[in-house]
Amino acid sequence: MTRRADLAAAEALGLTAEEYAKICEIQGGEPTYVELAIYSLMWSEHCSYKHSRPVLGRFPTSGPRILQGPGENAGVIDVGDGWAVAMKVESHNHPSAVEPFQGAATGVGGIVRDIFTMGARPCVSLDSLRFGELSEPRQRFLLDGVVGGIAHYGNCLGIPTVGGEIYFEPSYEGNCLVNAMSAGLIRADDIVRAVAAGVGNHVVLIGSKTGRDGIGGASVLASQEFDETLEEKRPSVQVGDPFTEKKLIEACLELLNDHHVVSMQDLGAAGLTSSSSEMASKGFVGLDIHADRVPLREADMEPWEIMISESQERMLAIVEPAKLETVQGICERWDLDCTVIGEVTDTKMLRIHWHGEVVGDIPARRLADESPVIRTPSVKPDYLVDEPVAVDDASYPPPKDLGAALAELLAAPNIASKRWAWEQYDYIVQANTVQIPGSDAAVLRIKGTGRGIAFANDCNGRHCYLDPYRGAKAAVAEAARNLSCAGALPVAVTDCLNFGNPEKGEIYWQFEQAVEGIAEACEALDTPVVSGNVSFYNESFGQAIYPTPMIGMLGIYDDVDIHLDGAFKDEGDVIVLLGPPAGFVDGSEYQKVHYGRVEGRVPDVDLALEVRLQAAVREAVARRLLKSAHDCAEGGLAVALAESAIASGAPGGAQWTDPAAAKPERSGRWLGADVTIGAVERPDLALFGEAPSRVVVTCAPGDLEAVHALAGDLPFAVLGVVTGESLRCTMGDEELLALPVSELHGVYESLPDRLA
């Protein structure tokens, strides 16, 4: 007799009484234990998006270039000449907090499977990371493990990790964020969707054997807050095997691109359960799964365990009987297990068999699509209840030594070079990398065409905390600005929405505000959202993370040769600030680092201005009028200038052989700048204050007029010229700061010293 599960069992699995009642209604009585386990996972926050679905509908998701929007494993964008890019981002926050190395590694593995499931060959990865303050040993341990795990997995797969971001804020102390983004190239007419079809076709499981990895991972780890029972949850840690995944990539792309399979789906959260029910639901068919035919790593597993195991490196394929032999042959060639575990039926039921007995029988569509929807009534958080106002500058006494303040900012972990991390990543494999990590955007060429693609990741969580709407909007604008600085046209967004507990009104408010901000910016910039991920419950002991809606953006080039970086190129070039001159202390890195405060009213992005500014920058790059372009972000104008000066040691975005040597590799000397700012009361805020829509560009003196003409009525200020060896800022006759670039370089590259 199959065991029946009662309300108590349902509640133990995290289901509510209403949810249980709905399950009983769908099942026509008490569910079996297998059925209940399946429902509990499919209706968990992580799999069902029950809190976020209605809000996400706000995003613009279509456009002439969009071949596939949200709803598939990855979004797909037409990038020209018959080529398309599939892209998505995924969070692996909770697993990484438990075991940073394996958590991050399996995060990369999961997102890469989402890409090649579509038939695309994964061609880039990016990683967006958040930790608590670096001064805490535990945070250094997490950082070390997470970066090591990403390197271990991505390097082994031979997918270049070309970009990302790392921020440190106390709010992430109990909940680090590990957002892995991946993209792949595919011929536009080869896109495969994860839809089961063809009654009588085989359901085939390819890849690793199934063990008890991550049992309950989706519901237990991803959908609850962390508390004291964290320790007990550890046995469900998943270990990644990038070698098997590499073989899977090769075998699956052969199966998909040569049309040997009808469709394919990766096994991610909730394993066999979610992959089979989603494939059945989308195809309006049923699937019979024989759990007893699944190859096991541990002999004594129960059917419900097999159905929800999150063992990594597994794929589910629908195969016509006539093609089974070919499919098995290809898998054998790659030494991969390939097992028929079921068939496509016309019952529209997901039916689980166990040694001849039916232990679960669920209407696939209702399971996949009728999960509950919850809209928490949103409440503006206490800390924002009084409409925040810009801080009074008078309460921020200006520093005496602006040079020291600049050095302090360059050394701040949020600004300092992240070379320590990205030198652990193979960013060059696949022979497409045009622009390596360390600048505004990563640039790759598309072999056999003159075209290129560019990627950027952005989100300032502190701004989103002070104003989730403005902060999220600014994240989209900044990602696009980074691409525009590199000369690429921004075309699409994938997002990873990291928030606290959505059952709380304040968190829900943050979430709604952020989505609104993203949506408005994406509309203005014409960059639809094609895929994404939501990660809730990033809270420990009631303390939520800063709202962190990470934006991953794709840009394209018709001619990748026109790409540009932020490094100063030649002495005598003119330095221009495009965009508004004023910087604000509110929410800035300067505020945090120098004054130890986080407060105020972060500036709002003027989207119309932003759009015009970026178009002008791109046009100037395309006409080869600019020598460099770099956006002003954390640390303001002075940090942007310093970064362009430091990068001058590495022409073409290359890097020093010996990062410790304070000497540029090829030119033999650093390029600095001599700039003057207009008379203001607070030069420190002009230098270090932050504001959106600002780009520092350089051009040959002879091109200045043409650049100015292109800029039209955009705010335009000639700051000075590129000079040798040092960075000097003046205001009128007053010297504000003057520092050798070699010294700035030393501080900027000092992160490793603080990791030892």
């Binding site: 090591g148 790659w334 410790a660």
Partner: protein, 244 residues
Amino acid sequence: MSSASPQPVRFGVVVFPGSNCDADAHHAISTFPGATVDYLWHKDTDLKGVQAVVLPGGFSYGDYLRCGAIARFSPIMQAVKDFAADGGLVMGICNGFQTLTEAGLLPGALIRNTGLKFVCRYVNLRVENAETPFTRACDEGDVLRIVVKHNEGNYTVDPETLAAMKANGQVVLRYCDADGVPGDAANPNGAVEHIAGICNETRNVFGMMPHPENSVEAALAGGADGRRLFQSIIDTLTVAEVAS
């Protein structure tokens, strides 16, 4: 030399499960008009008549146990050994270098980087011996700028063997600074005497940790210094062909 344009040199790139620079090596060689290139599958037992074999970079068998330890038992490796014994040119890049040492075709071993981290970085390489089939398009003392990317690139060998290797010109490439001076600061992995590439006694088997196949196109971040190594092989085999 005859004026008729010579036959292109036929290269083979071995594919092990877990190789991930096989396609890059293939692509790099295909940018040379004087060469053609095919893949060789690890389960095959013959080399399809190629004139030069490249063992590519990557993580054959996941680099589990030891880098190259399992790959060296692949069926194709017996053919590679026979080919090398007959004087055929074999070039191992990174994981390919590791596999050649595991197979006993090159002396020494590659152990964990002293930094214990994977390192992906541009390095400068000093050509120590330009009289090999793999470096003849360079001059001794030339500095090549090529990327390294590995976790186990720390070359080690016992002192007697090393002395013999040096006497015999088997140390082919060393990590150096931009001015061509080898030293600790330029050495990304702790390799003994800053060794980046070596050959066997008969100079027809060559292994290097850096990745010349990622430095063949000036338009990419990797630059084009790696071309000279492939060009050397092509020159060697073209001259041999024309002479025979």
